[in-house]
């Protein structure tokens, strides 16, 4: 079972190492991890997707809370939060395939952000499932390169995860 955890951490050197090290040392599996700024320059926000049952999740949360540089740990339930991932995909685009690629892009409300005689770069944003679906469809043309951000997530409504 996958769980999404949002962390507010101090924006200091070595914090990422402490968190990543905690996961490897205690045998927790990270599916994805993203870090980025918050509106307070002292803090960063991380979104971690971890695989495991409720016991694992509880241990992950408690162990993360013990780190001095971790300010807040919060599980984000999929039913109560919005989540997004961005991917840019360089796909082989022969002349005869171009229109079909563009149709797929249009159906997914994705964008073409670069075109060359033999390839295109497609940008897609959405849930992990949507990105996966897009990747599956583009695979038939030949994916030359792909970069994904990993998931970011936020609780719906007025509830906030902040320092």
């Amino acid at each position: 079972m996958k769980h999404t955890i949002a962390l507010i951490v101090e924006n200091k050197p070595g914090v990422l190492v402490r968190i990543a090290g905690l996961f490897s040392r205690r045998g927790f599996n990270i599916d994805s991890l993203t870090v980025g700024a918050t509106d307070n320059p002292d803090y960063s926000r991380m979104t971690i997707t971890v695989e495991g049952d409720e016991v694992v999740l509880e241990q992950v949360t408690k162990q993360l809370n013990k780190l001095v540089n971790v300010i807040r740990v919060s599980e984000l339930l999929p039913s109560e939060s919005v989540e997004r991932e961005l991917a840019i995909i360089k796909v082989a685009a022969r002349k005869e395939d171009r229109s079909e690629i563009m149709q797929i892009v249009s159906v997914f409300r994705a964008k073409i952000i670069d075109v060359s005689p033999r390839s295109m770069i497609v940008e897609v944003t959405g849930s992990e499932d949507k990105v996966e679906a897009m990747v599956r469809l583009l695979r038939q043309f030949g994916i030359k390169e792909m970069a994904r951000t990993g998931k970011v997530s936020m609780v719906r409504g007025t509830k906030v995860v902040s320092a």
């Binding site: 070595g14 190492v17 402490r18 241990q59 809370n65 013990k66 001095v68 300010i71």
Partner: protein, 556 residues
């Protein structure tokens, strides 16, 4: 307070934190700091190996309850501390380890004697700092001592690049501001009420006590609670001394080499009140069959310990002392009942024992004799059979009087830790119960003990083998004694004399009491070489991976 160098600021911080003693060994990048130490009131004990500095600071901390401080230079000095830091981490010992570091402009360049010690020690520290600016020194030290000594204690490392110790700063000792660190000390009333109800409902309760009771000074409250509800009490290795072992409710230690009756009581209990203990595998045996009939109440200051190894029915997060005090208030007195009789029966039928009247010296007898001659002594141990005999055959009555590397099981810990304990408690008699294997791992500290006139008494239970591993080879590997025979151990009496210590020896049971009395009378570091058989075993024993019910009583 005005301008001062980083080095002066460090010493000012140590003074403000009440540090009277540090253990260390200098090196190139520490020259500015050692130059400042030259003029300082803080006593610096020069060790002969950095590992011993960490263990001595650890022993000092465990004996006094204060924060231990050690200091080592960059690179190899720092990496030599790692075993000592890991030892302190596993046993939750408040320790501040300072390391020198290459100048900030050389960090990451593989400079001479550079090691990424903050990176190396992340898994074995409660927190760590690499100080990049002299002006951060007061804040970092303030935080480090606070973090090391509060909540669940632990080691904190401060890495100090050379230029940071030279540069000047305006000294001001700041208030603590740690938004990500707030120990959960206050116990929740509702949880106390639920725990108290469970204790009242229980017919066969056992209180299982770990080092958390020692660190929170909760031993009086523990006795009060246990006596009020007539609950038997067993301790872990770390909890030894928190409950007097001559008390009728005492079960001694539980687990792999615990008493048969403690283990039986756990397996038969309908309620276990665990306080400041972490259900370590050496305690629980096979986890699936641990205390199969019991509801579990777990009190711990570290929420991550609750539910980590066993399922817990009633969690109580908070300080052990206040939890025990609140529980003692919340329960109604109970009288001695059938459960107490049953436990007393086990105690009577399955006492700790060994074969008496043998020609060779029995290590158990040595411990009993030490206990008879010096019942109030601080007992520090090495690791292995010596450690288990010291746990079993000395009647422990006071917290902070039994000092041993439990979690990490660090051979070589005992002697430097005993030096630290004795320096922290000079008025107490301090023994290091050693084996010849462990003692040789930090034997060089005889120099430290002799030069600083630290009168620790090292009792070497000399069997010429790595006894605990050999015991397992004997029992589970068809007596194939692969690499556990030390073949030839040095003459410890001569070693003692070479360092200027007193060396004594006993080879016959009749000599034991005499040499021990001589050692106790000695006012300097003393080694007592006691020759025992390599076939001596620690009994009883729960084989690894077996249930506590499968405890074996081995031939004495």
């Amino acid at each position: 307070m005005g301008k001062m160098s980083g080095a002066e600021a460090i010493l000012e911080c140590l003074k403000l934190e009440g540090v009277e003693l540090i253990f260390g060994l200098p090196g190139g990048v520490l020259l500015p700091l050692y130059d400042a130490i030259y003029d300082s009131d803080i006593r610096h004990i020069l060790v002969r190996h950095e590992q011993a500095a960490a263990h001595a600071a650890d022993g000092y901390a465990r004996a006094t309850g204060r924060v231990g401080v050690c200091l080592a230079t960059s690179g190899p000095g720092a990496t030599n501390l790692v075993t000592g830091i890991a030892t302190a981490y596993m046993d939750s010992v408040p320790l501040v380890a300072m390391t020198g570091q290459v100048p900030t402009n050389l960090i990451g360049k593989d400079a001479f004697q550079e090691a990424d010690i903050t990176g190396i020690t992340i898994p074995v520290t409660k927190h760590s700092y690499l100080v990049r600016d002299a002006k951060d020194i007061p804040r970092v030290f303030r935080e480090a001592f606070y973090i090391a000594s509060t909540g669940r204690p632990g080691p904190v490392l401060i890495d100090l690049p050379r230029d940071v110790t030279v540069n000047e700063l305006d000294f001001e000792y700041p208030e603590i501001n740690l938004p990500g660190y707030s120990p959960n000390l206050k116990v929740h009333n509702l949880q106390i009420k639920r725990a108290a109800t469970a204790l009242m409902e229980a017919e066969r309760p056992v209180i299982y006590v770990g080092g958390g009771v020692k660190y929170s000074d909760g031993h009086k409250e523990l006795v009060e609670l246990a006596e009020k509800i007539k609950a038997p009490v067993t301790t872990t290795l770390m909890g030894i001394g928190c409950f007097p072992e001559d008390h009728p409710l005492s079960l001694g230690m539980l687990g792999m080499h615990g008493t048969t009756y403690a283990n039986y009581a756990i397996q038969e209990a309908d309620l276990i009140l665990a306080v400041g203990a972490r259900f370590d595998d050496r305690v629980t045996g096979k986890i699936a069959s641990f205390a199969p009939q019991a509801r579990i109440v777990h009190v711990d200051v570290d929420p991550a310990e609750i539910g980590k190894n066993v399922r817990v029915d009633i969690p109580v997060v908070g300080d052990a002392k206040s939890a025990l005090a609140e529980l003692a208030k919340a329960v109604e007195p109970k009288s001695w009942g059938p459960w107490n009789d049953k436990v007393a029966g086990w105690k009577n039928d399955h006492p700790l024992f060994y074969a008496k009247g043998a020609d060779s010296i029995k290590p158990q007898f040595v411990l009993e004799t030490i206990c008879k001659l010096c019942p109030e002594a601080v007992i520090v141990t090495e690791v292995g059979q010596n450690q288990m005999w010291a746990a079993q055959f000395f009647t422990h009555k006071h917290p902070k009087h039994f000092i041993s590397s439990g979690g990490l099981g660090t051979m070589g810990y005992g002697f430097p830790a005993a030096i630290g304990a004795k320096m922290g408690c000079p008025e107490k008699e301090v023994f290091d119960i050693a084996g010849d294997g462990s003692f040789q791992m930090n034997i060089q500290e005889l120099a430290t003990a002799v030069i600083n006139e630290v009168a620790v008494k090292v009792i070497v239970l000399n069997n010429g083998v790595l006894g605990m591993v050999r015991q397992w080879q004997d029992l589970f590997y068809e007596k194939r004694f692969s690499n556990t025979t030390l073949t030839r151990v040095p003459d410890f009496v001569k070693v003692a004399e070479a360092y200027g210590a007193l060396g004594l020896r006993a080879t016959k049971p009749s000599e034991v009491e005499g040499v021990l009395k001589e050692a106790i009378a000695s006012d300097r570091a003393t080694i007592v070489d006691i020759i025992i058989s390599p076939d001596e075993k620690v009994s009883p024993m729960v084989p690894a991976g077996a249930s506590l019910s499968e405890i074996l009583e081995l031939e004495g």
